[in-house]
């Protein structure tokens, strides 16, 4: 399926761009065709895509390729910057300017409002607020019960009045909060279609009556092209103050985030990362941008790489790779560099073009890094620089010396081999390679 190969596809185009000093119009146009497809497959609204592409093209053509990046990375960087910009450049918080903060959660059916009400209550109570949850969904079967169960789990009070008018419920909940010294009121409203005039009026009546600090639209991150219509209409009727994106724990690219942001101009304040009641996080625009592109946290990685890596060592390594003399000493050097950057899993996840399949057999946990170090330390210099000579009896000796099992040694050698192959792939080292300009994508690992 095209979807799965998205990362690889982008990687491939950008590979073609590699090895040139300036981005030509033709290069950029070709890459943009693929970026367009990538954005559409990520469910970014087609109108938003159109605008974005023309902006990015303009910026990218003729762009000098920075010394530290390949042209491919340069283009990714521009695309990513534009996406991040569109997504809102900074995180924004809840407005706590009044003595009682009222928050209305609104949205389509099933988007995650009730669950998010609970999560938000928990988050804010951890911040020292005293929240109550208000059951204003009087339509969906057992919706009130659902909120009550959620409240019970969190030890948060739930205000209900049964199937009364949601406008009255909301109003009464404020009085209740005031009387009982709660300072945050989170109103869980019923899901509704943006074209349901009657129910949309109900929301605007609640809003007019209680004048909330926040009206947050809860949007399912798997939503397609229609997200703009929904967001636009909710915003028109209610003047939204922000967005919450749910179900981001799946593998949807989440292009809806861009679409709703673009049409409402409202900041995305939180993201839902799971069904559990503490799975609510602050929104990070730059993370979302690379997710939409399917690029992992490539920029974070580039940044980390330039920050944490010893540049001289990296140059040496690059040289080694070019001459293809990458041995176990270098492998260990790489590992210790990697350790400086964070956990192995994190880093692997940040590398674009590395599909989980590709990673099979190369995955190791952080404890393993220590084991690997011990193993390599038990090798002779000759073995390290020429791993091919490590035969059965040498393996036995190394295992004994490092206090590991033969299988561990075998696995390490296999991993080394795969790493070498992978780095070769990444850097595109092959006979036809032009010299010069070649840079390690992420200094390998």
């Amino acid at each position: 399926m095209a979807f799965e190969s998205l990362t690889q596809k982008l990687g491939n185009i950008f590979k073609k761009l590699r090895g040139k000093g300036k981005l030509s119009e033709a290069d950029v146009k070709q890459a943009m065709r693929e970026v367009r497809i990538a954005l559409l497959e990520a469910d970014v609204n087609f109108k938003v895509v159109k605008e974005l592409i023309s902006k990015i093209t303009e910026r990218a053509i003729g762009h000098e390729v920075m010394e530290s990046l390949t042209p491919a990375q340069q283009v990714i960087k521009i695309v990513n910057e534009e996406l991040t910009l569109l997504m809102g450049s900074k995180q924004s918080r809840i407005d706590f300017s009044k003595d009682i903060t009222t928050i209305m959660l609104v949205g389509l059916q099933g988007s995650g409002k009730t669950t998010t009400a609970g999560k938000l209550g928990k988050l804010l109570s951890k911040d020292g607020k005293k929240p109550i949850l208000v059951a204003a969904d009087i339509y969906r079967p057992a919706a009130i019960k659902q909120l009550q169960v959620v409240g019970e789990k969190l030890d948060l009070p739930v205000f209900t009045m049964g199937q009364k008018d949601p406008v009255d419920i909301s109003k009464a909940s404020l009085e209740y909060a005031r009387r009982h010294n709660y300072n945050t009121v989170i109103i869980d409203t019923a899901g509704r279609l943006h074209i349901d005039d009657e129910l949309m009026s109900e929301l605007s009546n609640i809003s007019k009556t209680i004048n909330p600090n926040e009206i947050l639209l809860v949007v399912d991150s798997m939503t397609g092209q229609d997200a703009v219509n929904v967001a636009e209409e909710f915003n028109k009727r209610l003047k939204l103050t922000g967005l919450i994106l749910t179900k981001l724990d799946g593998d949807s690219r989440g292009g809806a985030a861009l679409s709703v942001k673009a049409v409402t101009g409202c900041p995305i304040k939180f993201v839902g990362m799971g069904e559990k009641l503490d799975d609510l996080e602050i929104f990070h625009p730059e993370r979302m941008a690379s997710r939409i592109l399917g690029m992992g946290d490539v920029l974070t990685l580039i940044e980390k790489a330039t920050q944490d890596f010893d540049l001289k060592k990296a140059k040496e390594l690059e040289q080694k790779l070019k001459t293809q003399s990458f041995d176990l000493n270098d492998f260990m050097e790489q590992l210790s560099q990697v350790k400086k950057m964070g956990s192995f899993d994190q880093i692997l996840n940040m590398i674009p073009g590395l599909s989980p399949q590709k990673l099979k057999g190369v995955q190791f946990d952080d404890n393993e890094l220590d084991r690997v170090e011990a193993i390599i330390n038990s090798m002779t210099m000759e073995e390290r620089s020429n791993p091919a000579i490590i035969n059965g009896s040498r393996r036995k000796r190394i295992a004994a010396g490092s206090g590991t099992a033969i299988q561990d040694v075998n696995r390490l050698l296999k991993q080394y081999d795969q790493t070498r192959k992978m780095i070769k792939q990444f850097t595109g080292i092959d006979k036809s390679r032009k010299k010069g300009r070649q840079k390690l994508p992420f200094f390998g690992f």
Partner: protein
Amino acid sequence: MGFFDRLKQGLSKTRESLNEKLDSILKFTKTIDEETFEELEELLISADVGVNTTLELIERLRNKSQKIKNPDELKVILKEEIISLFPKENISLDFPTIMLVVGVNGVGKTTSIGKLANKYKNQGKKIILAAGDTFRAAAIDQLEIWGQNVGVDVIKHQEGADPASVLFDALQAGKARKADMIICDTAGRLHTKKNLMEELKKLYRVCQKEYPEANITSLMVLDATTGQNALIQAKMFKEAVDFSGIILTKLDGTAKGGIAIAIASELGIPVWYIGIGEGINDLQEFNHQDFVEAIFA
């Protein structure tokens, strides 16, 4: 009201219907050129048909464009091409049947089960519901209320119970009470959650083992608002429980549900039912011809 009218009514709530857009594209088009194709491409993309399937459709139109004399004909051919993407088979149920209703979170599984129970009860079938979502808060209560409204039995355990044991009990009850259909609700789960997908496979195995005489018919519920992620959802759920058809819900909104076309085309999976509201009668059998007609009518 017949299917066609209901669907049309549902779809016509769209402020700017696909048809209006299509007409406005074609009105100014005297000749069919690149721009026409580009605009048609955009139109299909905006309906969530997806890049692959859209490009495939446009390619087919392009290949026939020599023979197409005017934009009206183009419209007819586009409709035909879309219809041809759907598998031909229709709903087929052999009783007694065990229906496993699966899908990601919040798509409308429980609601659709209520509607299905109502539909088949009205056809004289004996139905038992299994409250297999033991995870989400008050999911059991929600199904129970549907059971009461429809007037069918609901087999349930406590929240947090093992769904397989709920299903086991429901199967025994189904056998004992000679039910025609045992419809099993399941907790919403993202297809990326390995352990939860394993849990579904286990439910499937329980059905095979405990009631081999019955037919297992799994259905995946898909929210029509969903974008391209639905393709991988369908693929993963197909792998887990080999579902036969899709229930495409929330078509009463402005989303076109074009992703169902992509799923039909790329995975060969048909839509069986559509949901066009939250009410007990808001479920219709899907007819691909009517569906495409209603979009473009």
